[in-house]
Amino acid sequence: MNSIWVGVLGASAIAFFWKYLGHSIPEKYLQNARMLRINALIPIALLSALVGVQTFGQKSELVVDQRLAGVAVALIALILKAPYFIVVISAAATSAFIYSLR
């Protein structure tokens, strides 16, 4: 079994484990305010990190290329309150356009 399969099945197993655990433990065992605060912040940190790495990372190097222009347009679309799908499509179209100029 190659590593992609390990990733697919491992992520699926743990995703379901959390969901089922939540449905199975009494609410009173999880009322720690600090844990709830940190839990709300973890997705913000991870998703922002992913934005950065997927925009500038190329294996273990940092590069500036057509992706940055695409993400910049996505940011503008979000500021203009565009729906999610438009955000993604406008980023892709911008990046593809700049790539085609090379």
Binding site: I4, K19, H23, E27, S48, V53, G57, S60, A91, A92
Partner: protein
């Protein structure tokens, strides 16, 4: 049957389901097969975790760092389960199904029906959960097939679609300066660590920032 609730469930299911196409395309562009991409949508069924797995492994990260990041991103679904369990009151196979469709959207719509009572909350949860599941998986398949037909991901801008998808996921959470500061710090830290650590770890490292930011009560 609460009609306003049903309408809301349907519109959320369709809109969110459409992002499935972006995920399907991203999976294939990252080197996952169509089957592997579709299984992530069927079995993991949690958008941010799925994008993390294909994003990290597609850029050379290990399965372990992909699973760890997916686990951290999926943790909140457990908290949603905690919130929904006393409303749904299901056991056995029904609880397994309820757990599987416990995501941002199903919980969000259910909580939005609080004024209408628990029946409306339950309907909102099930309609939205099952509706998103249906459309998310259909559009994942469509996106994966489409990306395979396209060939070079960069020529179609798929390389920028993935970070844009993450940006769109984090955007609604950036409610104030506190959240924005955390986001910019995490982005910067992960980028700076990229040349220094194996792929995947720079992302996981930003959890330390979330812990630091969340440790003290905000004034």
């Amino acid at each position: 049957m609460f009609r306003a609730t049903a309408t809301q469930s349907l519109s959320v299911s369709l809109t969110v389901g459409l992002y499935g196409a972006a995920f399907g395309a991203a999976g294939v562009a990252a080197g996952f097969s169509i089957l592997q991409t579709c299984l992530l949508s069927l079995l993991t069924f949690s958008g941010a975790s799925q994008f993390a797995v294909v994003g990290i492994m597609g850029s050379g990260g290990s399965a372990l760092s992909a699973i760890a990041t997916a686990a951290l991103l999926g943790l909140r679904n457990g908290l949603y389960g905690l919130r929904m369990a006393p409303v749904l009151r299901v056991r056995g196979a029904k609880r397994v199904l309820a757990a599987h469709v416990t995501i941002d959207e199903s919980t969000g719509v259910a909580i939005g029906q609080e004024d209408l009572g628990e029946d409306a909350m339950r309907q909102g949860f099930w309609f939205t959960g099952l509706g998103v599941f249906l459309f998310w998986n259909l559009f994942t398949l469509a996106g994966a097939l489409g990306a395979q037909a396209m060939g070079n991901p960069s020529a179609w801008g798929l390389d920028a679609a993935v970070p844009a998808a993450f940006l769109g996921l984090v955007w609604p959470r950036l409610l104030g300066n506190f959240e924005r500061t955390l986001a910019i710090s995490a982005l910067t830290l992960a980028v700076l660590l990229t040349p220094l650590l194996p792929a995947g770890l720079p992302i996981i490292a930003t959890v330390l920032l979330a812990i630091t930011f969340g440790w003290k009560v905000r004034k």
